[in-house]
Amino acid sequence: MAGVLTKKLLLIVGLVMVALLIVGLVRGAIGSAILGSEPLIPRPEIHLPPQPVFPASSRELHLGLTPASGESASEADPHAVAPTDEHGDAAASDDAEGQEEAHSTPLGINEFAITNTMLSAWFATIVIILFFVLGAGKKSLVPGRFQSVIESIFEAIINFSSGVLGHDMARKAFPIVATIFFFVLFNAWLGLLPVYQFLGFVGADDNLIKVHLLRPAGTDLNMPLALALVSFVFVEVWGFKAHGFGYLAKFFPFASIIKKGPFQGLIDVFVGLLEFISELIRMVSFTFRLFGNMTAGEILVVMITFLVPLVATNFVYGLELLVGLIQSVIFAGLTLVFLSVAVSHEEH
């Protein structure tokens, strides 16, 4: 009986999904372009640099909002505006594009403003802290369900690190590796919450969200770069701890010119130079791997929502969950690997 009901339910859900998909195809950008109607979702704007949110003057300056017309409405409260409410036509989005050229000037390199990515990073930080501090709060010897979950996550990370570093070292490296993992993971996953899409400040001339209040921190180049810097410093400090100043000989093996003769010595010096460069390049690869993945995911979600709204985005969300997990594992895992290379006692 229950089996039949479940089957029926599944069938109904499936049919609804298919219907929504068809509606999405027809009413989305693709169908609209063919039918010549106006798309359900207005054309999204993609900003590579994060947008300043606070102070308001900085926000308006960078978005070209004229304070006279829209300030009071947009500054007083961040409007929760459903994208479906919008009515803009093709001309309007063309206008928006035209304006975008003008007002998408990013922050100057030394200019300070609170950006939407920063806000979401703080949000993620608070969520992480709540999650773990609540989970570890009671610290009882016989763990509850929540504590067991967190402990098994910790255990998994320690086991993973032990495979690379050995048990003792893994225990010491655990805090930073785990924090990198959780920071990347929570930023990526929280960024999938719909809140990120519909909270924002609308423009003065139309009802479109011009500045989102929250935007996944991974899509801000500075966040992966900050993590890469932390990871780099961490690895180098551990390298120095393990080898003393002899650690530098890995990159500048001038001693081997005397030890092994000029020819072999020069090769060693060159190899050392390559090592040094790769050590620095790592930061760049770290940064752009995460930045690229997160930004691509964000753009993919926005674009699919624009092209085929309603259900098609769900598959992208599934994909993005996976990508977020993979990227956080990669970031933490590579930090571990570089750490093990830095502390390993190889003779050069």
């Binding site: 640099p49 992480i128 967190i150 910790f154 924090t179 900050a226 993590l227």
Partner: protein, 168 residues
Amino acid sequence: MTQLGLNIPTLIVYVVNFSILLGVLYFFAYKPLLRAMDQRSERISESLAAADRARDEAANSQAAIAEQLNEARREGQRLLDQAREVAERYREEEMVRARSEAESFVERARTDIQRERDAALDEVRVSFGDLAITAAERVIRRSVDRQAHQELIAQVLEESGDSLRRGS
């Protein structure tokens, strides 16, 4: 690079943000939780070891108890055997003593009888002499000849012998 969004203050904010997160998690989550986990695993291994020890001890003490029980049983058996043996010996000794006592009683009775008989014989012999004299007196009074004399003595002897034999 600024077109990509590179911004030094933002970068610093993220580094600080991450450091704060690291610090908070370290002091409020990692350290206490890892300590709790370590304590638990220590506790578990300890209690496993204790359980092993207890089991060993139980097995040992069981063996010891069985050993003691056997020992006690053997001891009991030994005591019983000993007691039986002692009783046997005692019985035999008593028997021997009783028999010898009885024998000595019989012996004494026999010697008593012998002595009584001898005494009786002596008495008879004395009275026999008297009889002989009496007989002789009679003979003399009747003044019989030698032959009659002889016959009389024989007769008396025979009579006395008969009476003696009857009397004994």
